[in-house]
């Protein structure tokens, strides 16, 4: 079995890339830039949840990851529609 | 009616896959895999019938072309073969551009001549995930795609709309074989 330290190191690196995305969300000159940052953060959070489910060997995190993926997709579509200024 | 049955069956199969190992009343292979409790199966049936009633007109549009199993095998071959190779190339390309910062972007128009909605959706998704291209907009009357290209080649711009082979290679042929 892989040691838990290795997996925690990988979780730390994933959180580092989430921090890079958060910098873009705060800096982003236009609204679409911030939405791109949020979309990338969503994918990274799903991946971190899967890795954490492996570390703690509890499957419930992966169930939450599936639901989070679908809900974040719907929220991204809604924000995009709002930026477009179209009718829903 | 057929649309309702197809939707309900698909929902029920997905529900069963997501709840394996929930109990030991019904066992198919062994107790760790493919075993369900009665409560999960009854709840799954009720939920998938409700979803089938609500979503039957959304899920199955007008034809049953994708019910052919051969098309699903072609789809799997497409995913594992040319699509995955293109995706690996795309990522190495993006890695090179992230590190060096050399870009030469532009938005070009291609007309892949696909007829079905499913086909154009698959092509747009494939283009988004493969080398240096991102689908921006679609002309819904003629099924033309507008592509953001991160490294525009000069020789591709001589003809308009731009030839498909510069953007997506052999993908339209594969997708025409899958969906039409």
């Amino acid at each position: 079995m892989i040691e838990a330290e290795t997996l925690y190191l990988i979780l730390g690196l994933l959180i580092l890339s989430i921090v890079l995305c958060i910098i873009r969300v705060f800096k982003g000159p236009t609204a679409p830039d911030r939405v791109v940052g949020l979309d990338t953060i969503n994918t990274l959070v799903i991946v971190s949840m899967i890795v954490y489910g492996l570390v703690s060997s509890s499957v419930i995190y992966i169930d939450v990851a599936i639901v989070y993926a679908l809900l974040s997709y719907i929220s991204t579509l809604f924000i995009a529609k709002y930026l477009e200024g179209g009718e829903f | 009616m057929l649309a309702f049955i197809v939707t309900t069956l698909l929902c029920f199969v997905i529900y069963l896959l997501l709840t394996t190992g929930s109990g030991t009343e019904i066992v198919i292979l062994n107790e760790d895999f493919l075993s369900w409790s009665y409560a999960e199966i009854i709840l799954g049936l009720i939920l998938s019938i409700i979803v089938g009633i609500i979503a039957r007109k959304v899920f199955v549009k007008d034809n049953y072309r994708m019910a052919n199993i051969v098309r699903w095998f072609r789809f799997l071959a497409y995913i594992c073969g040319p699509f995955f190779v293109g995706m690996a190339k795309a990522n190495i390309d993006v890695a090179y551009r992230v590190i060096t910062g050399k870009i030469n972007p532009g938005i070009v128009k291609i007309s892949p001549n696909l007829k079905t909605d499913l086909g154009i959706t698959m092509l747009a998704n494939s283009i988004t995930l493969t080398p240096g291209t991102l689908s921006v907009d679609i002309d819904e009357e003629k099924n033309d795609l507008y592509i953001h290209w991160i490294n525009v080649k000069k020789e591709a711009l001589k003809k308009k709309p731009v030839d498909c082979k510069y953007i997506c290679g052999e993908f339209p042929k594969w997708i025409r074989r899958i969906t039409e």
Binding site: S17, D39, T76, L77, A80, L83, G85 | V98, I103, I107
Partner: protein, 133 residues
Amino acid sequence: MSISQIVDYIAIILLAIGTFFSILGGLGLLRFPDVYTRLHAGTKCTTFGAIFICGSVVLLGLKMWYFANPDGSVLTIHTIGALIAILVTNPTGAHAIARAAHRSGVKPVGAVVDDLEGKTLRKSISKKKEADK
């Protein structure tokens, strides 16, 4: 070296590749100049990284299943479900953001060519809908 150790090494290599591409996605998001190129980095790199990390978790789940650990099968199936959800939703979301950005008036920085410049596709469609009514 036993089978178990070999599987562990392969899983660690896959995890390293996936993490590398995830960090590259974050870096690209910071370095690139405009929305469209940032979308290139954010979508492609993180999707590719997610494929590798989920592949590693699936491999470890199969190993647990082989050694009769009851969590293994559930871990494998649910991770494949999450991977399919990511693969279907990520490019579609990127396409929606790109279209919204172009329609809300963000121009690609340093563009050589812009075929979509000045076209109003949505207006023509809504006119067509009015004509249908």
